[in-house]
Each structure stands twice: as C-alpha cells, then as structure tokens.
C-alpha cells in the first residue's frame, strides 16, 4: 500500500514537472512581453527595454532554454520570478491562492456533500416525485454556464437586498474596502456577507454535478446482493443503505472529485472575476492578457500541484473506502 502510494506520488510529481515545463515553453514562445513597451509616449529607449526584460527574465532574444533554466533554478530555490510589473510572483500567489482556495474548497466541499446527499436520496426514491424534481433541477443547472449562473445569483441577491430594505449580501469584493482584518466579529460577519453569494454559485454548480453521478453510482449499488444480505442479517434498511450502500457508491466518486478540483478552479475564475475577488483566476487572465510569462507558468505549476494533491488524496480516500485496495 505504502509502496503503491509512493510510486503514485513520484509519477504525479513527474507529471506536474512536465506539465509546468510545457506551459513555460508555450508561454515563453507565444506571449510577447515586448508589447508592453510599444506605443508608449515617449517611447522608452531600446536599451532600457532590454534591461528591464533581462531583469524580468523575459527577453525574447535570450534563447528559451536559457530563460527556462534560469526560471527553474529560481523555482527550485523557492523563487517563482517576477511579474511583468516587477512584483514578486511568490507574493502574488501567496496572497491570491487563499482567496481562491477559500472559495473553491468551501464551495466544492459543501456542494459535494449536498450533491451526494441529493443523489443518494434520489436513487433510493427512484422515479418518485422528489427524484424527478431533483433530476430536472440538476439538469437545468448543468446547462447554465457558470457566468450566467453568477449573474443570476447576483440578481437574486440584489433583489433580496431590495426586498428586505437592508444590504444583507454584497456582490463586489471579498470585504468592505479598508477593512481586511480577520480579528473581530464584525469583520468576520462582513466577510461572510461578501462570501455568501459567490460560494452559493459554486455550491449550486457542484451539487448539481455530483448529484447526477452519485445517483447513478447509488443505483448501481442498490441492486447488489450484499445490500439484501445486510438486511437479512438484521440491519434496518436505512442502516444498510448508509453503511453498505452509500459507502460503496462513494468509491468511484473519489477519483472523480480529484479531477474536478482543477475544473472547479477554472469555474471559480469566473466567479472571482464577476464578484471582483482578487484571486488566482483574475491573476491568470491578467497574466495572459499582459503577456506575463512568469505568472502564466507559475499559475500552471500551482494548478498542477493542486491536481497532484487531489490525486494523492483520492488514492488515499479510495484505499480508505475500498477494503480490497487496502489489503492488497
């Protein structure tokens, strides 16, 4: 078991390294940081442009390999380089990642729990009214692009504010400007009111998604003999369903969860941008539009590490849930 996990970890680390390398080369050859200095008035001297680009390690005249080696050398020493504006990428990521992670983790975990509960319930009550209603709702939600869902939630939130006459929810930013502390109760309350709507978007989207898969996984399990056996040996139906049914049905979902974290991250980019949170999504889109090579590569590295962690976590969860894996 430990050896299996160790081999997976090495494999995943290799994959992350290759993915980041690929992204660096793509970004370094496709993006053109020189564009930033064109069309300025007065035009900067070519020498100063070259000096700035050299300083940022983004000079297109330096061979890509050489720039890559410099960048990797920095990364191995814990330095992800500088953004196109000369700020430290480390600093950007270390503040922004928590903004995104707060959103994604809270949203996806609550969403997964609600989705699994709805899906499992729907499977148990197959073809009853509650199952049909859940199916229709999840179908409609899955057909709404996340951008439109964000706007919908915003509109509903604003109209709720108007209806109650008090601004209960905020649709812009992560906290009221000038008040970014975490310490007092009013600060936390302020953050919660900002966080509610964007998190709701992710919860709705991921709950709809997981409910479909959980429902089908649960239906597969419901027909199995071991559930009947469990009831025959004296368990009540609900106990048998939860202890033997739900647990088995969750197994295929764990792998799914891992690959969806990356997907959700992209989805959360829209949420961040529409709700004006300064997270990784905004960072990535800005990096590409401002021709920022280092930031683009660093974001890939970040997502790759996230997928890697999720992959390892899902392997562990798989082992914990499936006794066949644990024993062998």
């Amino acid at each position: 078991m430990v050896r299996f996990l160790l081999r997976r970890v090495v494999y995943l680390i290799l994959l992350a390294a290759i993915a980041t390398t690929l992204a660096y080369f793509l970004a370094a050859t496709q993006l053109n940081p020189k564009l930033r200095f064109e069309g300025r008035n007065p035009p900067p001297s070519p020498a100063s442009v070259t000096a700035t680009l050299n300083d940022l390690n983004m000079n297109p005249d330096v061979p890509v390999i050489k720039r890559y080696v410099t960048w990797v050398n920095g990364v191995l020493h814990g330095d992800l380089g500088k953004t196109i504006l000369g700020q430290s990428v480390n600093q950007q990521i270390s503040t922004r990642m928590w903004v995104s992670l707060r959103l994604v983790l809270v949203g996806s975990i609550i969403g997964a729990i609600i989705g699994c509960a709805i899906g499992a319930y729907g499977a148990v009550k197959q073809y009853r009214l509650s199952d049909h209603v859940a199916t229709v709702i999840s179908f409609v939600v899955l057909s709404i692009p996340i951008v439109v869902l964000c706007k919908l939630v915003q509109v509903v939130g604003i109209s709720l504010n108007n209806a109650t006459g008090t601004p209960l929810f905020f649709t812009v930013g992560e906290y009221t400007p000038g008040d970014s502390s975490w310490t007092s109760f009013p600060d936390l309350w302020d953050r919660a009111r900002h966080m509610f709507l964007p998190t709701l978007v992710l919860v709705i989207a991921s709950a709809a998604f997981y409910s479909r898969y959980q429902r089908s996984a649960m239906l597969d399990v419901l027909g199995q003999d071991f559930l009947r056996t469990a009831q025959a040996k004296g368990l009540t139906r609900s106990r048998a369903l939860i202890k033997h049914g739900l647990r088995t049905a969750l197994i295929p979902l764990t792998t799914f969860f891992a690959y969806n974290i990356a997907l959700l991250f992209i989805g959360s980019f829209f949420v961040e941008i529409i709700f004006s949170w300064h997270g990784m999504g905004e960072y990535l889109v800005n990096a590409i539009t401002t021709q920022d090579i280092n930031s683009t590569a660093a974001t890939t590295l970040f997502v790759a590490i996230l997928v890697l962690l999720a992959g390892i976590l899902s392997d562990v969860a798989y082992a914990a849930l499936d006794p066949r894996v644990r024993v062998s």
Partner: protein, 306 residues
Amino acid sequence: MATPSEPIVLAEEENVLGETAPTSRGRLVVRRFLRRKTAVAGLIVVVLLFFAAFVGPYLTKWSYTEVDVNNPFSPPTTSHWFGTNTLGQDVFAQTMRGLQKSLLIGLIGAVLATGVAGILGAIAGYFGRYADRAVVVLIDLLLVLPSFLIVAVLSPLFRGKTWLIFVVLLAAFQWMLTARVVRGLTQSLREREFVASARFMGVPGWKIIGRHILPNMASFLIIDATINVSSLILAEVALSYFGFGIQAPDVSLGSLIGEYTNNADTYPWLFWLPSMVLVILVLAVNLVGDGVRDALDPNAQISGGP
C-alpha cells in the same frame, strides 16, 4: 465516465450480433428514443435552433456587423428583435451568428474529440506495451495541464486565422476521459474469440481495430459524442468570454456574453437574451444526449453529467 456500464454495453452488443428478434436494431433504438418525450422535445428544440441560426439572419434586415447609428441601446422592438448594443448593432443578428458558431463548434469538436479518443484508446488497449504506456502518460499529462490556460496562451496562434484551429484545440482537451474507457473496453474485447481468431488469421492490428474493436463499442462512442457537444459549447463560452476564443469582428455566444456582462444591470436584454439562447441550446442538447444514451444503452443508469 461510464465505467460501471462497461460489461452491459458489451452484453448488449452480443445480443444484437446473435439477433433473432424481428425488429432491426436501428428501428429499436429509434423507437426507444421516441418513447422519451423529453428527448424528443430536446431534439425538436435543437432542430429549431439550427433552423433559426442559419435561416434567422435572412429574416431580419440587419447583419451582425451593421450599425444602426440612430438606435444605440434600443430595447427589443419590432425592428430590432433582441435590441441593440452601444454602437447600434442588432443583437438578434449577433446572437444568431453566435448560435451558428456554437452549434458548429459543438458538433465538429465532439466528432473530433470522440474520434481521437476512440483511435488512441483502442491503440493503447489493443497493442499494449509501449503504445499503452505512451497513451496513458499523454492522457494523464493532459489531465494535469489546465486546458483553459493552454488554449488561452495559444490564442494568438489562431487570431486572425480560421476558427477551426480553435475547435481543434478545444477538442484536443476533451478526449482523455473517453479514451480511458475505450482503452478498458478494448482490453476486454481483445481477449474475445472473434478478435483472437481474426488475429490468428493474420489480420493486421489496425484493421482489427477498425473492423472489430471500434464497431463493437459504437453505442458508447455515439453516446460520448452527444455528451461532448454540450461540454464543447460550454468550453467555447468560457474561453470566448475572456476574449481567448472567437475574436472580433466575428462573434460567438461566448464573446457576446462576455462583452455584455457589464451591461447586464443597465441594459438587461444585451446580456440575458444571448444567455437565454445559450442555456436553451445546452439544455436541449443535454436532453437529446440523455435520450440517445437511454435508447442505445437502456441498462446504463448514468444520466446527466457534463
């Protein structure tokens, strides 16, 4: 994706091969599809949208680039059915143009993605060894790479060129999960007698894949392609929203929605009408996909999903 249904798909194919029933498989599938009212409704909506996308532009006197200088920010009227934008461009004409793009991107992309998945998955599963290793590593690698980022970085490549390059790029990140399932199905098919006998007769591997392996998972591939349509439409929206997809002056539903997001509160028709068309399209395509899956593979329990 449909891993739990693997053996069922095979079992069904077997029944069909040894068919004794009087109704042909094709007719049976059509009948099963027609029995589902939601699927039929979805199909009708898709056909109507197709019709609207390609005939609609001729019904209105405005083209999607034309500027009605006297009527900027006009709400929906009899002249401008979906209203106009800042410049006075007709939003209906733009939406229909975008709908064309979304439909074509979804269909072409889905066929490409499922095609690549079928071929690479079958090669990996059938030949094993190095081919298998290579494909599995490629699949894992592409799953780790954030597709959004790669396509966005590559967007200068197809700027000013044909949008078909964009479709190919989208499809390039859509085949991996399917290829995994195809690989698994191929591995079990390879052990079957009819494949073994073909091999012993000296039929080359690529011919076995084309004649025996892929036709035997046709229903899975068709189901997968129909599901891919809606995910590709949504992927296009995501990229074009940020300006990394279809480029101006051409428009797509994604670029329209992206452009008009900031007008959603002040000029609601600009944002909500294209969005509504998009949601209806995706919902209809999903319903058709669900119906196709039930018709081809009635034992599979999975329904919905992206």
